[in-house]
């Protein structure tokens, strides 16, 4: 049961343009959503998060939007830079028995073309 889905395995964007990465989820009990960025041969690193009670969170060039009714979130990167080329994982977290349980999507590989 894939509770967190990233339907686009890859995305190519020109430098300076906007990158939009999408994520869908099925479990309405998720209370936080996080995006992680992963470079080859490294572990994922935390990028940005959003609470389920918010619809937008912004941090510099990165903005995450949440549409709870559609069970959909997206990560916007503006402007995109070549250093943003990486795999981006969407993750959803819920509290289970007092502990957080984190489920990851399958990832979207972003390539920013100079």
């Amino acid at each position: 049961d894939q509770q967190v889905k990233q339907n686009s395995p890859s995305l190519s964007v020109q430098e300076g343009r906007i990158s939009i990465l999408n994520c869908d989820y099925t479990n309405s009990m998720f209370d936080y959503f996080l995006w992680y960025k992963k470079y080859p041969a490294e572990g994922p690193t935390f990028l940005i998060s959003i609470s389920s009670i918010k619809d937008k969170n912004e941090d510099g060039r990165f903005t995450v939007f949440l549409n709870k009714s559609a069970k959909h979130l997206s990560l916007h990167i503006v402007p995109s830079q070549p250093g943003d080329s990486a795999v981006y994982f969407c993750a959803a977290s819920l509290n289970s028995g007092g502990y957080q349980k984190v489920t990851f999507g399958t990832g979207t590989k972003l390539q920013v073309i100079p």
């Binding site: 996080l34 490294e42 994922p44 957080q100 984190v102 999507g105 399958t106 990832g107």
Partner: protein, 115 residues
Amino acid sequence: EAGVAQSPRYKIIEKRQSVAFWCNPISGHATLYWYQQILGQGPKLLIQFQNNGVVDDSQLPKDRFSAERLKGVDSTLKIQPAKLEDSAVYLCASSFTTFSNSPLHFGNGTRLTVT
């Protein structure tokens, strides 16, 4: 602060052999996770510790996988005997709290190849 340390970085073994991975989390992080990431897939939780107690091992194949976290700090994950389908990157992560908004800090992983 020092990050999550994992070793070894790479391991190649034959099927039916055993292997162990080691993880040292960020100092002060009580929660430790082991994830398995198969090529082309997202990380899948194998086991989660709070201090030295297991809070979730529902997806750990207990007939061949075992993990421990002695003294609530370092952790080891063992596979015995290994199967071809265990080829994956094994990621260790830690978090400061167990709250849902507490980001996970990952190590660089151990890439296991089973031949």
